[in-house]
């Protein structure tokens, strides 16, 4: 976790001071060094949550449930960063805060899906029921996301937007690429660090709840 935070600070410094400003997009492009890696980490978090849910249903080990929940929570937080940095960049570069582009739409729905996952967890009190139900939803979500992506992708390609919003993917100069790739690495470490922290907290809560229940009976 500490490593991730130091790395994050390092990324900010490198992105702002030591990476050249992109010619067509100007300083706004800098947000890319946060946005893309965070988006990657968020999608990683959601996939991990789905896989851990599947593992929970097969093994019925509490560990997997708590880890899946931690991953979903961290993923949702990262997705918020992704969905706020995106429009901030989109306004100056694309000329609009939001567009119903396939990738934007499917990440929005994925984000809402996992908000639903967390809401469901909150609404269930019994530990065992909560673990089972949220694992079922996690597995369903894992299968759903590719479906949503195909759907909105087809929707877009059948109704192309009159304005070309997406710039051609430029091959990044190596200075920018190094910044981006190290940011990817840092965000992955940050994700792992946050999940570990959140998981440790969940285990402590779990132990505390059991103690409390034991104290009453």
């Amino acid at each position: 976790m500490g490593l991730a935070l130091v790395g994050l600070a390092g990324i900010y410094v490198r992105a702002l001071m030591f990476t050249p400003i992109e010619r067509t997009q100007g300083p706004a492009q800098k947000i890319f060094y946060v946005h893309a890696p965070v988006a990657w980490a968020a999608l990683l978090a959601f996939s991990v949550c789905g896989l851990l849910s599947l593992l929970y249903l097969m093994m019925r080990d509490r560990k997997f449930d708590l880890m899946a929940a931690a991953s979903a929570e961290v993923g949702t937080a990262l997705a918020v960063v992704m969905l706020t940095t995106g429009p901030l960049w989109g306004k100056p570069v694309w000329g609009t805060w939001w567009t119903w582009d396939a990738r934007l739409t499917s990440t929005l729905f994925t984000f809402l899906l996992f908000v639903g996952y967390l809401v469901l967890r909150n609404a269930l009190t019994d530990f065992e029921v909560r673990a089972r139900f949220s694992a079922v939803l996690g597995v369903m979500a894992l299968v759903l996301v590719p479906f949503i992506h195909v759907t909105v992708y087809w929707f877009r390609t059948l109704h192309p937007d009159p304005v070309v919003l997406k710039p051609d993917a430029p091959s990044l100069p190596s200075v920018m690429l190094v910044t981006l790739l190290s940011s990817f690495a840092v965000c992955t470490v940050l994700y792992i660090g946050l999940v570990m922290q959140r998981y440790a907290l969940a285990v402590m809560q779990d132990v505390r709840e059991e103690e409390a229940a034991g104290g009453i009976s």
Partner: protein
């Protein structure tokens, strides 16, 4: 038990649900009136000079079916919650598979009848004389409804155990409806525009794939919801 086969049991569960529904008809009539109301309200939710009937109709139809279905699904397991009827069902030697199939069948009939009654009204209200395309449209309606009901039945069985089940169901279910409803709307406007079948195969196969995968998945996962 004579009807101990899987489908026999499933049929018995469905028949029980429909019989309970038939006795009162409250949920059915409410869903139907609701569907007609949504169709009628959506008709006015536009500027008629810039948005024509044909442009509005597909979306209106599917928004109506989505919401009417939500009402029906909420009812399916709320019925079981009263007097702990679900615990009673669990005590009987019914396999979760049979119970799931029965619940899905009951919901399909419920929603199917609501849709069958509102379709002609939709055609009249929106003045889209597509009587000849009606069989094609009904295939699309059937395909979308199967996927919808399969996922909806699974989720409503979970949601009924939470405190705010009526609000929770749409929140969890709507993301799952993106593929079937978007496909259905796309197919519906093509049908209304009298497009050839070749323009529909893509969306039809997406719809069919969604049905097969999510029906199977819901069936497999239902056991994890039910077993204590």
């Amino acid at each position: 038990m004579a009807s101990s086969s899987l489908f026999g049991t499933a049929l018995a569960v469905a028949r029980k649900d429909l019989k309970v529904e038939w006795r009162t008809k409250t949920a059915f009539i409410s869903s139907l009136v609701f569907a007609v109301l949504v169709l009628a309200v959506l008709y006015f939710a536009r500027d008629k000079t810039s948005v024509g009937d044909y442009d509005l109709a597909p979306g209106a139809l599917w928004v109506t079916f989505t919401f009417a279905g939500m009402l029906g699904l909420n009812r399916a397991f709320l019925l079981e919650r009263e007097n702990h009827a679900l615990d009673g069902l669990r005590l009987t030697p019914i396999s979760p598979t049979a119970l799931f199939l029965g619940k899905v069948a009951g919901n399909l009939v419920f929603l199917g009848v609501v849709e069958l009654v509102s379709l002609p009204l939709f055609i009249l209200f929106y003045d889209v004389p597509i009587w000849r395309q009606l069989p094609t449209l009904m295939v699309v309606v059937a395909l979308a409804t199967i996927g919808y009901v399969a996922v909806g039945t699974l989720l409503s069985a979970m949601v009924v155990r939470t405190r705010f089940s009526e609000v929770m169901l749409p929140v969890l279910l709507l993301p799952f409806l993106v593929p079937p409803i978007v496909s259905a709307v796309q197919l519906t406007w093509r049908i209304l525009a009298l497009r050839p079948l070749s323009e529909m195969t893509g969306w039809l196969s997406l719809l069919a794939a969604f049905d097969i995968i999510f029906f199977t998945l819901s069936l497999l996962l239902f056991e994890a919801i039910l077993i204590e």
